[in-house]
């Protein structure tokens, strides 16, 4: 039987439990055998791609096209279908560096895909199952720190995926070195894969701690994301064969970041990727730990949300500041649309992560006064403090604060523009999109207060329907934005271009209508919360009379 050192068991019992359960001699043998078999099949496949021997007597002048031939001339080096040259015996001259590079290239894409999908699948299934069965509760009750337990899960649960890849690393390294890839580049790529894996695995853990238990959902999401990224990479990969040559073209469809040319070299892409994914992992890690310690808590605290939004906005703004040369076709307002679109996604996440559910809201409405009295706190000022920082208070004011945090850097950037008309449009766009985000936040909070057990599904469905359906319906009835631009201000639209077709006063009119709806939703929410609190007071008074 596989025995683990006692030190590891004492240092991280969770990791030792996971490894012991998974790394049985049978599992280790099977996994390594499977990995080696796949490598052999791949090598046979690539061996078959090599140019074949030419019968010099029968076909003295014939030649074949093969990408792995030594090119006849330097100019044809970049031609993928160059002709082969042969020696007197008819043996083709093979470009082995290129052959090894192609193997390295394939493995560099396939190995991370295996780690990501298998790891995410295993983590969601394992933690989801433990959470459902209730075994995780006993671990929670132990004096171990949440970080220790989660780290044990992150390293231990995907152990089989790590083993598959570890068994393939010697070949990958050999292929890279033979393909003239520097050790530094290979090393950075390993760090990047580790950073992405860390981010995905912590996200998978958080998903499972939030109640998700279908590992295949995570695996499909990772697979799809990976395929999309791979396609983007391939479409930007220079047609020319680039081993050993530093390409000056962009390798990814990404603009510069605060003037840094992040997509021009592999090293910069890797470095930027490592920093970005590490920051995302840090925040996800905070949320996963919070959720592990207190499963009924919101995914993030209000305090965390402000820092996260600031972080996200500064990261996002980097892509448009000092990096694009504005011209007739590339106006800053077009890039602001992209920022607004990214922000819409961010705020949908924030609303989902910050909004407390029915039980927490009812308890907050019912017992807030009592809890404040227990803590010897009173006053209106403290209500605002509670709404901004409280654990189970409604999320609307916190979302408004996050919107302000997001708007400030964007508006500073807008102030640096030179076109006054575009500035006006940009400010209106921020105003309109922020109000829509607040409307969504209030509506979500209202839906989450419903008694239905499936209120989360309801909230997602209603919000998505409200965002997506109006533009579809409007386009179906022929109401394209040129005809009824105001109608589009209500839905998932990249607001700015529509504003170019309408006057500022019309846009303001639209905004006022939005504010009216927001006021209506807020009043309804307040009334419901007050009602929940009052009904409790009545019950308490009735109890006292009895």
């Amino acid at each position: 039987m596989f025995t683990l050192p006692n030190r590891l068991k004492e240092k991280n019992p969770q990791l030792s439990r996971e490894l012991k359960g998974r790394l049985s001699p049978r599992n280790i043998g099977l996994t390594i055998a499977l990995s080696l078999l796949a490598q052999i099949v791949m090598m046979i496949g690539y061996w078959g791609k090599l140019p074949y021997h030419r019968d010099a007597e029968q076909y003295p002048l014939s030649s074949q096209y093969n990408p792995f031939c030594v090119p006849t001339s330097e100019s044809s080096r970049f031609d993928y279908s160059h002709k082969c040259i042969y020696d007197a015996l008819g043996n083709p001259a093979i470009d082995w560096h290129r052959w090894w590079y192609e193997i390295f290239h394939l493995m560099s894409w396939v190995l991370p895909l295996i780690v990501f999908t298998v790891g995410v699948y295993l983590l969601i299934s394992d933690i989801g199952r433990e959470e459902k069965r209730g075994t995780l509760n006993f671990v929670r009750m132990s004096p171990q720190r949440s970080q220790n337990i989660l780290l044990g899960k992150l390293i231990g649960v995907p152990a089989i995926a790590y083993l598959i890849v570890a068994a393939a690393l010697p070949l990958h390294l050999m292929a890279g070195l033979n393909g003239y890839v520097s050790l530094v580049d290979i090393g950075i790529s390993y760090v990047l894969v580790a950073a992405i894996a860390g981010c995905l695995f912590v996200a998978a853990t958080l998903f499972a701690l939030m109640g998700g238990s279908q590992g295949w959902v995570g695996a499909i999401a990772v697979w799809s994301g990976y395929v999309i990224f791979f396609s983007a990479w391939q479409s930007h990969r220079p047609v020319r064969y680039t081993y050993g040559i530093r390409s000056i073209e962009r390798l990814l469809p990404l603009p510069d970041w605060y003037g840094l040319k992040i997509s021009h070299s592999i090293e910069m892409i890797l470095l930027f990727g490592v920093i970005t994914f590490s920051t995302a992992t840090f925040w996800l890690w905070q949320s996963a730990n919070r959720r592990f310690r207190k499963p009924t808590a919101t995914v993030i605290s209000k305090r965390q949300s402000y820092l996260m939004t600031a972080c996200f906005e500064l990261w996002l703004l980097g892509f448009v500041v000092n990096s694009i040369t504005w011209n007739e076709w590339q106006r800053p307002i077009h890039y602001q649309m992209i920022l607004l679109f990214a922000n819409l996604g961010w705020f949908l996440f924030l609303i989902a992560a910050l909004s407390p559910h029915r039980q927490a809201l009812l308890d907050w409405a019912r017992y807030r006064q009592q809890k404040m009295a227990e803590q010897h706190r009173t006053g209106r000022k403290l209500l605002i403090q509670d709404l901004c920082l409280g654990e189970s208070s409604p999320a609307v004011l916190a979302i408004a604060l996050n919107l302000a945090i997001a708007a400030v850097p964007m508006l500073i950037w807008v102030a640096s523009w030179t076109n006054a008309r575009e500035q006006e449009q940009a400010v209106l766009s921020v105003l309109l999109s922020a109000t829509i985000a607040l409307m969504i936040a209030t509506l979500t909070q209202l839906i989450l207060m419903q008694r239905s057990a499936k209120r989360s599904i309801w909230a997602v469905s209603v919000i998505l329907a409200l965002l997506i359906l109006p533009p579809i319906l409007l386009s179906l009835v022929g109401g394209w934005y040129a005809k009824s631009p105001l109608a589009f201000l209500w839905s998932l639209t990249l607001f700015a271009p529509y504003l170019t077709w309408i006057s500022a006063s019309t846009a303001l009119l639209g905004w006022l209508a939005q504010v009216g709806i927001l006021a209506g939703l807020s009043t309804t929410l307040t009334r419901r919360l007050v009602k929940a609190g009052v009904s409790e007071s009545k019950a308490l008074m009735a109890g006292a009379k009895r």
């Binding site: 006692n6 068991k9 004492e10 019992p13 969770q14 030792s16 439990r17 012991k20 359960g21 069965r133 209730g134 075994t135 509760n137 006993f138 671990v139 929670r140 009750m141 132990s142 004096p143 171990q144 720190r145 949440s146 310690r293 207190k294 009924t296 808590a297 029915r358 039980q359 009812l362 308890d363 019912r366 017992y367 009592q370 809890k371 008694r451």
Partner: protein
Amino acid sequence: MQQTLAIATHGLTKRFDNHLAVHEVELQVETGEVYGLIGPNGAGKTTLIRMLAMAEEPTLGEIYIAGERLQRDRDKPSLKRQLGYLPDDFPLYDDLTVWDYLEYFAHLYQLRDPYRTRRLHEVLDLVQLGHKRNSLIASLSRGMKQRLSLARTVIHEPSVLLLDEPVSGLDPIARVQFREIIKTLQATGMTVLISSHVLSDLAELCTSVGVMELGYLVESASLQELYRRLSRQEIVITTLGSLSDLEVELRHHPQIEVLVSCADKHQVRVQFSGTVEAAADLLRSLVQAGLPITGFHQTQEDLEAIFLKLEHTQTS
């Protein structure tokens, strides 16, 4: 005062939507006690125990374990080491052996060798699973799994043990075994809070009892106090002679309250409010009166009868 209590709650309330599962419970359990929690299904016993075990967050109120405030979102390793909790469904890891499972929890509770290995053997002996130490958990019977769960619960020698319906679903032999283990744990000085529907078990184990109804703790007292207040004695007297002579003699006695005759068995059942000495005096007087008494059996109403008498049987 709080310092001496193993468990103390103040205004402990748990609300699920509009349903009050536990309402302003003021529970006080002295160190070393075995406290039985009884009440109908849905009275709030499980919710109360889950809150004490930090598996559920209270809506309102405070919990103190050995004088220290319990808060779910704060990591307090010292407090967690004091608690052992066995829920009624006792989930386990079927892929581990008995030894590996206990060792895993011993590591989680940061027990160090050689104490750890000694403790593992101790708890295996306690729950009589030493011979199964290398068996997979999946192969154990329900009773064995229950005992293994108890072993996991006490591996770190908690000072407070919370047991929720620990004998439900067990056969009579397994129940007796389980009861004996609890007695052993009590002897080591652990404070035990146990909820059960098997009141005869509780009567044998507990020093105090709390009754829950509709989320309220409606009764909380020592078992002796409950018996003194609510349990009535019954005496069954059998005679060879005439039942009417016996009844006439008994009616002269002031401590006899209710009298029921059973002619076919030549028996009279009486409810008696006197002490044991008074019962002896009664027997003496009957014999001196020349009645041919062949049986004189004194019994006391059990916990089940007391519970039914309390009429706290409404679910929340």
